[in-house]
């Protein structure tokens, strides 16, 4: 059973008309708000471990959005790689650097102000551009894109890039070892 179908079933339960699109919008809004809140926490909390945990929420939210967009394979990968591997890596990093759990980091106010201005500026420009350009585009997602389509694309059209990424991963692996080893 595809996740999207489950979603449809859920929405049927919620609304008597069983309108998939309304349900999608509702889910989007809920997840988006959660993500934004969690993201804000990630960048504002003073506890590193908390930040990592908030990050998990954002990543999970992103996975949910992928499902809404009909891209199940990406969603699954997101959960596996990000939540499964990357966040764990972060937690290890926190432990190894002994940024003692719950340690307050005092951020210079000057920097926050500067960063906030840059962020807001960036967002406003992007928002204007996006609203201006994609006002009319609607997404109609009835069924997920199958994994086989994605795999076809990866192993035909993007085979070279795929190989390059694998080399990159290998190189990163070796690089990380070289950089981090103790001698």
């Amino acid at each position: 059973m595809s996740l999207l179908a489950a979603l449809a079933a859920l929405s049927a339960a919620l609304s008597p008309d069983g309108d998939l699109y309304v349900a999608q919008n509702v889910f989007f809004a809920v997840i988006a708000v959660t993500m934004i809140f969690s993201a804000l926490r990630v960048v504002t909390t003073s506890n590193v471990v908390h930040a990592a945990l908030w990050l998990v929420v954002v990543l999970a939210g992103a996975a949910a959005q992928f499902i809404l967009l009909g891209s199940e394979f990406v969603a699954v990968t997101q959960v596996l790689v990000y939540i499964g591997a990357v966040v764990v890596l972060f937690l290890f990093g926190v432990m190894l650097t002994r940024a003692s759990l719950g340690d307050d980091e005092s951020v210079g106010e000057e920097k926050r102000g500067m960063a906030a201005v840059v962020g807001v500026l960036l967002f406003s420009v992007m928002a204007i551009a996006l609203i201006d350009s994609f006002e009319a585009d609607r997404l109609v997602i009835d069924e997920p894109r199958s994994v086989s389509t994605v795999s076809d694309a990866i192993f035909s059209q993007y085979i070279v890039a795929f190989e390059a990424v694998s080399v990159l991963l290998l190189a990163a692996l070796i690089g990380a070892i070289v950089v981090a080893r103790k001698d």
């Binding site: 106010e109 000057e110 920097k111 926050r112 102000g113 500067m114 960063a115 906030a116 201005v117 840059v118 500026l121 960036l122 420009v125 992007m126 204007i128 551009a129 201006d132």
Partner: protein, 734 residues
């Protein structure tokens, strides 16, 4: 002998045109004349030190060969002219092409350029020979000869040019060679200062030359040509607007003023005496300074029309010349340095030439150029000979009575002086007389004709003649008569020698050039005996003008020719003689007696009335200070440009433009902070802190951007990206 065969060849002259491209071999191949010294320059530069006579032999050989070629070209021109009239030979090839316009390079051989070839090569040859002795033990002997060759080559290149672009090249090359040669002894600051001054003053004039050249390029006839003949023809044909000609002639006049040392831009010329004497002879007699005069002569239609010479009684060029000739002559009076006397005399004589061209007496001007080259070179080399003996140029301190020690030099110097003073029958007399006639201002016993009635200029010329005779008398007296005042404690002279014993006569390599030049100073005048006096057969008169002046050629304006006048000749001679006699009386009688009575050194003696008369004293002071022009140039213009102006510009650079940029960067970084502070209600704190930062930053620019913190860089990066994207949006919205 191939050249004899070539001489015998007759020239084919197409009818109806006054320019041909096929002629006698020596005329067609006249470009060899500048090429030889140029090659010798390269040769001496690279191999000179290894040669037996350290490169001098190569230079002399090349210039001698050039001289021979020039002589042959001279004969060929005579034959060419006799055969077909005044038909210039032009050989041209493409030099470069830009904007679909071809720029040629070539030679224009006519009477004027052939005459210049002769003058330049012979003076240069003699100077070369003279130099082997004069700078014989100089440590940069080879180098000296190399640049002497290049100097000669540049001048020859200049006079042969068939287009003004090429003339510009030659003109500047001459300038740079003079820079090198004047600064030959660059160890001493005054010498390098003089070299710099010469070059920079010329450069100022070059602004005029560049603009004038460009104006002519676009203005003349079909447009877009530098070809001298085409430009001149267009002007003669009336195809060029008067406005363009006025602009061009005034601009070119500025160039002439700097190069030919006309009043207010002449100050570099006496300073240029810092160079070795042979160089001074070459610069002031035959080459550099007459370049300006030559250019006027070459582009005469431009000036004739632009300055409206015909039918007038005053114009810019003639007036500048007249002022120069008088003021230069006055300055020559107060100099103690023999070379400076001659330098100011050159200024004055150049004034004559420019004035002559300004009043329309073309032939007279060019003829004066011709004769002046010989007697002035003679005088310079003579002064060098004396200075060589006493190791000084100071007439009052270190000379006097030299005729006893150096009788041969004395004789040649006297001949040169008389020729310069314009006394009959030496060269200067004939040429100066023609100039005075040419002013057309003489109406005493019948009108002499000419291009206008330049009476004022005639009077100035007369006065100048008297002055010339007088200051040369003073110079001769101070140098050669009276008691020998030298031999006391000597400073090092330009060679770094100590003087020892009495001065003695110079050697043959110095004397022979002097003999030749003084011989020429005697006979050169006969090249252009005035016609109409019935003293000599008509076929002997006005030979120079006949062969040199492009009368009837398509690139020369229709100018009127003055008729010689007995009365004027006599009056002018009397005036000159009068100047000489007054000066002779003062110096040879009064001063001589005074100095013998008081046994006072001449250093303390007054020149003329300056001690007894306040006004005259003030005049003397003005003259000694060279009309304060140098003060003006150095203290005011140069000092201002180098000092406050340059510093101000630099200050603006560092403190306004740079600071603006730094501040912009700073502001970009600080913007966030300030906004935050204001939002955070700590306006006062923020203000104080911020102003502290600003004042810190004045000492250390870009400090905040440059703090080396990664995140600041990243902030700038993102902020700039946002701003750019915004700009992009705005462009799209338009």
């Amino acid at each position: 002998m191939s050249f004899l065969v070539a001489l015998a060849e007759s020239d084919s002259v197409p009818t109806g045109s006054t320019v041909t491209d096929s002629a006698n071999w020596f005329l067609e191949y006249a470009w060899l004349v500048p090429l030889l010294p140029a090659l010798s320059f390269v040769g001496i530069l690279f191999f000179g030190k290894r040669m037996r006579y350290k490169g001098a032999e190569l230079g002399i050989a090349a210039v001698a060969l050039s001289f021979l070629l020039a002589v042959c070209a001279g004969f060929a021109w005579l034959a060419h002219h006799d055969d077909g009239g005044y038909v210039a030979v032009q050989k041209s090839t493409q030099w470069l092409q830009s904007g679909s316009v071809e720029f040629g390079a070539g030679i224009l051989v006519d009477g004027l350029s052939v005459m210049m070839l002769l003058v330049v090569t012979i003076v240069s040859l003699l100077v070369h020979v003279y130099s082997t002795d004069y700078v014989g033990d100089d440590k940069r002997y080879t180098h000296f000869f190399a640049f002497l060759s290049l100097f000669t080559a540049a001048m020859l290149f200049f006079v042969l040019s068939d287009n003004i672009l090429q003339m510009l090249v030659g003109w500047e090359l001459v300038g740079v060679c003079s820079f090198v040669l004047i600064g030959h002894w660059w160890e001493e600051k005054p010498n390098s200062d003089a070299a710099l001054k010469a070059f920079l003053t010329n450069r100022v004039g070059d602004v005029g030359l560049i603009i004038g050249t460009i104006a002519l390029f676009f203005a003349a006839g079909g447009g877009r040509t530098f070809d001298t003949v085409k430009i001149n023809e267009a002007i003669v044909g009336g195809d060029v607007s008067q406005a363009a000609l006025v602009v061009a002639s005034v601009c070119l006049m500025a160039a002439v003023m700097s190069k030919s040392g006309q009043f207010i831009l002449h100050t570099w010329l006496p300073d240029a005496m810092a160079g070795p004497t042979p160089v001074s002879a070459l610069i002031h007699a035959a080459t550099m300074v007459v370049a300006g005069v030559f250019m006027i002569a070459r582009l005469y239609p431009v000036f004739f029309e632009g300055m409206q010479i015909g039918g007038s009684s005053i114009n810019l060029m003639a007036t500048i010349g007249a002022i120069t000739l008088v003021f230069g002559g006055l300055l020559a009076f107060v100099q103690d340095d023999i070379k400076k006397v001659l330098a100011y005399s050159t200024v004055s004589q150049l004034g004559y030439m420019v004035m002559a061209l300004g009043v329309g007496a073309w032939t007279a001007a060019v003829f004066h150029l011709f004769t002046h080259a010989f007697f002035k070179a003679n005088l310079f080399l003579g002064s060098g000979s004396v200075a060589h003996a006493v190791h000084s140029f100071d007439m009052k301190k270190d000379m006097g009575g030299m005729r006893k020690f150096m009788p041969k030099t004395y004789v040649t110097f006297i001949i040169g002086s008389l020729a310069l003073a314009g006394l009959f029958p030496l060269a200067g007399f004939w040429s100066k007389d023609e100039i005075l006639v040419g002013t057309g201002g003489w109406g005493l016993f019948g009108d002499t004709g000419g291009n206008g009635a330049y009476t004022f200029h005639l009077l100035m010329g007369m006065f100048g003649a008297a002055l010339t005779a007088a200051y040369m008398t003073r110079c001769v007296y101070l140098t050669f008569h009276g008691e020998y005042r030298g031999g006391h404690d000597h400073a090092h002279d330009e060679h770094g020698h100590e003087a020892h014993g009495d001065p003695h006569e110079s050697g043959p390599r110095i004397l022979v050039p002097l003999y030749i030049l003084s011989g020429l100073a005697i006979v050169a005048g006969f090249a252009n005996l005035p016609g109409g006096f019935q003293l000599v057969p008509d076929s002997w008169t006005e030979r120079f003008g006949h062969y040199v002046e492009p009368v009837g050629s398509s690139y020369f304006p229709k100018i009127a020719h003055a008729t010689p006048s007995w009365s004027l000749a006599v009056v002018a001679s009397v005036v000159a003689l009068g100047g000489a006699v007054v000066a002779a009386y003062y110096y040879f009688v009064k001063v001589d007696r005074l100095s013998k009575e008081t046994e006072a050194s001449l250093t303390g003696l007054p020149d003329g009335l300056s001690k007894s008369n306040r006004l005259a004293g003030a005049g003397h002071r003005v003259l000694v200070n060279k009309y304060y022009l140098d003060h003006f140039y150095e203290r005011v213009i140069v000092a201002f440009t180098k000092g406050p102006l340059a510093r101000a510009a630099y200050w603006v650079n560092q403190n306004v433009i740079d600071r603006t940029v730094d501040k912009a960067g700073e502001t970009a970084v600080l913007a966030g902070r300030h906004v935050y502070d204001i939002v955070d209600q700590s306006v006062i704190d923020g203000f104080v802190d911020g102003s502290g930062r600003v004042s810190d930053a004045t000492g250390e620019e870009l400090r905040h951007i440059n703090s080396g913190k990664v995140q600041n860089y990243a902030a700038i990066l993102f902020a700039m990206a946002a701003v750019l994207a915004g700009a992009f949006l705005i462009i799209f919205a338009l």
